[in-house]
């Protein structure tokens, strides 16, 4: 009945598209007649639509949510489709979608959180029982005689059947006396059993999937953006007149971060400070190329600000390493590490490590589209966190939340880059200066790479005291960096029980470079530091790196850790002899355990490498084993493990950004290399580490941890050289 509230934008592409029609519909702003719950509608043609409060960034989260509903609903897989849950409705109806889970993760990227799964299973079960009740009423038979399967209701006694769609409208209005109980997991037929291809694959392979970059609206203008090249800098002077006459140019927009903005009226999962506007200029034109050419020609002078003090990358690295030499803020202290170090006897191992700034380099460059009118805002955006997008749009435009509408698009890679919403902030800051016209703001690849919210640079000095048996009795870690770098550093197994005396300190450096979450924030560096260092301890103790780790884990109350290690060791041929210049390395880490056993996802890796005497490294094979408790989709799990391993591989081998006079140097893939098909080692993912514990934890981040240190440890095995910084391509690996 409320279909009239549904605004639909339909844009016909030009003739060359062979009749291709792009349509972007405003998701249902209010309850629709065919709705069973806000999560689920069933049409008279049997189409089941699942509303998903999770952007599709490539991990299959939307498909997973559909599978979860289908498990209880008993619908045919071919009848199911998904759409994005509208965040505006969530706001208007007091957290309709968000209250089913911690709002921190709602409208975020995960699909298998316990409460989220329960909500969707319940939505499916409830709809199934209401369909049965409607059929029972139609046939005037007891509901207990009706079965529901493959979108068909069957009366067991008479053999009569009805399609779901035939009674859907009736069923949507049925109220159950009580909600049905969910099937026990052992009776699941889809989850854990089936692995359907992602629902949007068919559109992807035809070029029809609509990413943020593909939004096309009537009257749309394009903007090319340039933010202060030294982050935190300010625009000093711009000569807009100089480009006004260039072809297609509509206007030059200046973004001033000090201008007043609206009140913060909508709940946000993270502080909106993370999305603070940056000083910027943008050229708005009829077409992107025109905007870009005019931006390149635009005379502009920037004031660099404090960041210019960092003249070179080495200056920065030196400062980070030096900061680890002094005591700093205590993050965690267990037992008495200093007393252990002061006790004579045993042996001390000490080493300093460093990881550089890295950019997410999502294949889809940053972009977004907004139409800001006086009393309504529409945003089409490839967000990783739609609720964040909403809150930012409300603040940036000052338009009340009830009139702000976010249209989530597909996302061409996230990896954490599109969570905090600095991108949509800039889109809106530009678009509000061109009111009444949709403006599609595009970061060039160079702008995307030089205006990142980077994996922070961080350094650490690690000091361990080994007892006479070679095992560590005390560990001190002094970190330095700025931004999210301390995240998770205290929560690793080593720091949560494996070593009796632990002290962690952190020093914050006066760095201006902006940072953010990057596939496994904090974790992607900490795993490298700790797993390389444990290898150093094993070597100091004269122990095999695998045996040493197993001994460390002997008292750890989560046996899956050892199981993961044993699995990768067995599968990789651990212990078999290798010629000089070749070697294996092992590592294990856990993403999101929060200091607890049987939590988060544990991931172990063995890498086999060859290093020529001249120092040329080739990674031959990577074996990975993991424990996320249980799995609901084997192929989706594999895809994440494969992709995450490649991500960890590229990060460790290739990625580093340099600083020159406060600016980021690298702007494109010729300077910030990516592994390609021909560079791929054999990556083998094994299921032997799975514990069956009752949880379904993340798979995207975990492999990013152990792959790098496994390679560094393999390089040591091959050459006797310890590599304590990434990327490995910049290290001298030559041996003789």
């Amino acid at each position: 009945m409320n279909r009239l509230n549904r605004r639909t934008f339909v844009v016909s592409a030009l003739a060359a598209g062979g009749g291709l029609t792009l349509s972007i519909s405003d998701a249902h702003a209010t309850r629709t007649a065919d709705e069973f719950t806000p999560w689920l509608t069933i049409g008279s043609d049997d189409t089941v639509t699942v509303r998903v409060a999770t952007p599709e960034i490539g991990n299959g989260a939307m498909t997973q949510c559909a599978m979860t509903v289908a498990e209880e609903l008993g619908c045919a897989w071919s009848h199911i489709r998904t759409e994005f849950a509208p965040v505006n409705r969530n706001y208007m109806e007091g957290d309709t979608f968000g209250k089913a889970d911690d709002y921190l993760v709602y409208f975020g990227g995960r699909s298998t959180g316990a409460l989220r799964m329960e909500t969707l299973l319940q939505a499916g079960a409830s709809a199934r029982e209401r369909l049965k009740a409607a059929a029972a009423a139609r046939w005037k038979v007891p509901v207990g005689e009706i079965e529901a399967d493959e979108s068909v209701l069957t009366h067991r006694v008479s053999g009569r059947t009805l399609r779901y769609g035939e009674v859907a409208a009736l069923a949507a209005n049925v109220t159950l006396a009580h909600e049905p109980a969910l099937k026990p997991q052992a009776q699941w037929t889809l989850l854990g059993k089936a692995a359907p291809s992602k629902l949007n694959n068919a559109d992807i392979v035809m070029g029809k999937a609509q990413y943020g970059m593909d939004v096309r609206l009537p009257g749309m203008l394009y903007a090319a953006l340039m933010q202060a090249p030294v982050q935190g800098g300010r625009l000093q002077w711009v000569d807009a007149e100089a480009v006004r006459g260039m072809p297609g140019v509509h206007s030059v927009v200046v973004v001033d971060p000090t201008e007043p903005r609206g009140p913060r009226q909508a709940k946000a999962p993270f502080t909106l400070d993370y999305s603070a506007p940056q000083s910027a200029v943008a050229v708005v034109a009829d077409h992107y190329w025109q905007a870009r050419k005019a931006l390149e020609a635009l005379p502009v002078v920037w004031e660099a600000g404090d960041g210019a003090q960092w003249k070179t990358t080495d200056q920065l690295k030196t400062a980070a390493l030096e900061a680890c030499e002094q005591p700093s803020k205590v993050e965690k202290s267990v037992g008495d590490a200093e007393a252990a170090f002061a006790t004579p006897g045993g042996r001390t191992v000490e080493a300093a490590y460093l990881t550089p700034y890295c950019d997410h380099a999502t294949m889809e460059p940053l972009n977004g589209t907004a139409l800001v009118a006086k009393d309504r805002v529409d945003v089409w955006h490839p967000a990783q966190q739609t609720q964040m997008t909403f809150a930012i749009a409300v603040e940036e435009t000052g338009v009340p939340p009830q009139n702000v509408h976010i249209h989530q698009t597909f996302v061409g890679g996230g990896f954490g880059r599109r969570v905090f919403g600095d991108d949509v902030r800039m889109v809106l800051a530009v678009a509000r200066k061109v009111p009444g016209r949709p403006v599609h703001v595009i970061w060039s690849r160079e702008e995307s790479m030089r205006q990142g919210r980077y994996r922070p640079l961080q350094a650490v000095k690690l000091t361990a005291r080994l007892a006479d048996d070679g095992m560590p009795v005390a560990l001190r870690a002094r970190y330095s960096g700025r931004g999210l770098f301390p995240m998770g550093m205290s929560d690793t197994a080593l720091m949560s029980g494996l070593i009796p005396n632990v002290r962690i300190e952190s020093a914050t450096l006066p760095l201006h470079i902006l940072t953010g979450p990057y596939r496994g924030p904090g974790y992607n560096s900490h795993a490298f530091f700790l797993e390389s260092f444990i290898d150093e301890c094993a070597a100091a103790a004269g122990a095999d790196p695998l045996d040493y780790r197993l001994r460390l884990l002997a008292k750890w109350p989560d046996p899956a850790w050892a199981k993961c290690l044993q699995t990768v060791a067995k599968e990789s041929g651990w212990g078999e002899r290798t010629p000089r210049g070749e070697g294996r390395g092992i590592a294990i880490s856990n993403w999101s355990m929060g200091g607890k056993p049987r939590a988060g996802t544990t991931c172990a890796a063995v890498a086999r490498v060859a290093v020529t005497p001249q120092g040329e490294l080739s990674v031959k094979q990577i074996d990975v084993a993991f424990d996320c408790g249980r799995i609901v989709n084997r192929d989706a799990v594999l895809a994440q493990l494969e992709g995450g391993s490649v991500f960890g591989l590229n990060m460790s081998l290739n990625e580093a950004l340099n600083i020159e006079n406060g600016r980021i140097v690298e702007g494109n893939f010729h300077e910030y290399p990516m592994l390609r098909m021909a560079d791929m080692p054999k990556i083998r993912c094994h299921f032997g580490g799975l514990s069956g514990h009752d949880r379904f934890t993340e798979l995207g981040e975990p492999p990013v941890g152990p792959v790098g240190p496994a390679i560094a440890n393999a390089i040591f095995a091959a050459t006797g050289k310890r590599i304590r910084q990434t990327p490995f391509r910049n290290q001298d690996l030559a041996w003789s």
Partner: protein, 151 residues
């Protein structure tokens, strides 16, 4: 300033500066958004199309230099039934999917040149970037499509 080009079998007149890269002509002037922008400097291959049947990086070709018919992903098949597309879906190749149309166009050109490519052929022909790391599955997809064609 109008320039005549042929795209997906249709003769079109494009009103754009002759320096405009074919990529942006396709995306912004013709609404063919299946061809993607990834780097703009010929590095990533997300913008791969066929020019006279050969794979090219459309970000590197100015409109003025387009002197042969252009084929984009929208015409690889009109219904998703190309063997590569079928293989991609059944092997669940894409993750975010943004790079995949470029890979598919490069793979199609490869299969036309070498119907049954070896791994080395694939390494040499598919030099595109996939940040999601789907390389193994892309390789498997090419082999599957090649096998299907032979059958």
């Amino acid at each position: 300033m109008s320039k005549a080009i042929t795209v997906n079998g249709r003769a079109l007149a494009v009103d754009a500066d002759s320096e405009t890269p074919l990529l942006w002509v396709l995306r912004d002037h013709l609404g063919l958004t299946g061809t993607k922008y990834g780097c703009g400097i010929g590095q990533c291959g997300a913008c791969t199309v066929h020019l006279d049947g050969a794979p090219v990086r459309s970000c590197q070709i100015p409109l003025g230099a387009v002197d042969a018919p252009v084929t984009t992903i929208e015409a690889l098949s009109f219904d998703g039934s190309h063997p590569l597309q079928l293989a991609w879906v059944s092997l669940n190749v894409p993750q975010c999917g943004y790079c995949q149309t470029g890979f598919l166009m490069a793979a199609d050109a490869l299969l036309k040149a070498i119907p049954n490519p070896s791994d080395a052929d694939i390494d040499a022909a598919l030099t595109n970037i996939c940040r999601c790391g789907t390389y193994d599955r892309i390789r498997a997809g090419v082999h599957r499509a090649a096998a299907g064609r032979e059958a």
